[in-house]
């Protein structure tokens, strides 16, 4: 009988550890794996938009903010969209009148549990430095060509 008395606390302990929940003060912590979105907000030249305001609009109600927040010192902001609201989630990052707005398409039930990293640049552009140089040169050549066209000497008709 004495042995049973000593064993009973151990049995309780065994039951508690099997349940996998912490009962101290009735607190519960559960977690669920979900697809998150990490936003990296940068200015066009690459500097992070630190402490910029972030407003997220869900597809169900694109006029009322679903979430508001602020980027960290590196211009990062993370959120987990509600998978029950598939569609385009609008994200606006704004600071001192500058910023950008992008639409992030979120599928119904994403099978990818990893966090998706989306870079929001202001202005929104994904061109590389070389592409930008090439585009600038072509546009400048267009202007120079226009200048040359209008400054040409009139030719005499033979």
């Amino acid at each position: 009988m004495k042995q049973i008395k000593w064993l009973s606390p151990l049995l309780y302990l065994g039951i508690l550890t099997q349940s996998g929940e912490a009962l101290a003060h009735g607190a519960h912590i559960t977690y669920q794996e979900a697809t998150g979105i990490q936003i990296i907000a940068t200015y066009d030249q690459g500097d992070p938009m630190n402490n910029a305001q972030v407003v997220i609009y869900a597809p169900d109600d694109p006029t009322t903010p679903w979430l508001r927040g602020e980027t960290d010192s590196q211009g990062n902001f993370s959120f987990v969209p509600d998978v029950n609201q598939p569609g385009n989630w609008d994200v606006q990052v704004r600071q001192a009148g500058h910023g950008a707005m992008i639409s992030i398409p979120i599928g119904a039930a994403s099978s990818n549990p990893e966090t998706e990293i989306i870079t929001v640049t202001t202005p929104e552009s994904d061109y590389t430095f070389r592409q930008k140089i090439l585009m600038s040169v072509s546009a400048v050549w267009g202007f120079v060509g226009t200048a040359l066209f209008f400054s040409r000497q009139p030719t005499k008709k033979s």
Partner: protein
């Protein structure tokens, strides 16, 4: 200083396009009535449009963000009524190629940068001070005016979805950067104008009576 799409109510973007439309019509009318034929002025306007287009890619790191040259004062002095059209075309290319500003905000951005260019043209023609000082003041004032219009528009239409106090403070803080930029652009305008007055004075006297 480019306002992106989706930041302001649609009515403001429409008002921007209306103002730009009327101003474009007025500038074209003045160009048609001018003594100098457009064929002679277009090469100069086209080259300065190229300079304006490229200027948005040159950044100077001035807190809280970084600034890029606008040079709308210099455009106004050298181009007169062509300056508004040159800025409009430059902004169009900046928007479609690099996303600086947007297509719905194009009219408003043209107002922000083009109106001060026209004011710079009028002021420079008043001959109120020696050439160097006048070109500095006009160059600095044009940028300061652009910053002022930008600030007033952005502060007047802060959406309810964001923290208005934080945004207002950030916009007002950015005025420090624009103040520094005004001085830099004023100095740059002074250097270019005084250089042109020596090597090619005709480029200035075509439109203004220089008083150096």
């Amino acid at each position: 200083m480019h306002i992106p799409d989706g930041f302001l109510p649609p009515s403001i973007y429409l008002a921007g396009y209306s103002l730009t439309g009327v101003t474009t019509w007025y500038c074209l009318r003045q160009i048609r009535r001018a003594a100098i034929p457009p064929e002679q002025e277009i090469p100069k306007a086209s080259l300065l449009t190229a300079a304006f287009f490229v200027s948005s890619a040159i950044y100077l790191p001035i807190p809280p963000t970084s600034i890029h040259f606008v040079m709308n004062g210099l455009m106004g002095i050298l181009l007169g009524y062509y300056s508004f059209l040159a800025i409009l075309i430059g902004l169009f290319f900046q928007a479609i190629m690099f996303g600086h500003g947007g297509m719905t905000s194009l009219g408003l951005n043209a107002v922000i940068m083009g109106f001060p260019a026209l004011i710079a043209y009028y002021l420079f023609g008043l001959n109120f001070l020696p050439l160097k000082l006048r070109s500095f003041l006009v160059g600095a004032l044009a940028l300061a005016l652009s910053a002022a219009i930008f600030t007033v528009v952005m502060i007047s239409f802060i959406p309810a979805d964001i923290d208005a106090d934080v945004e207002r403070k950030a916009i007002l803080f950015s005025l420090v950067g624009y103040g520094i930029q005004s001085i830099i652009e004023g100095i740059f305008t002074m250097i270019i104008v005084s250089f042109l007055s020596k090597v090619k004075p005709g480029i200035l006297t075509d439109k203004h009576e220089t008083n150096s």
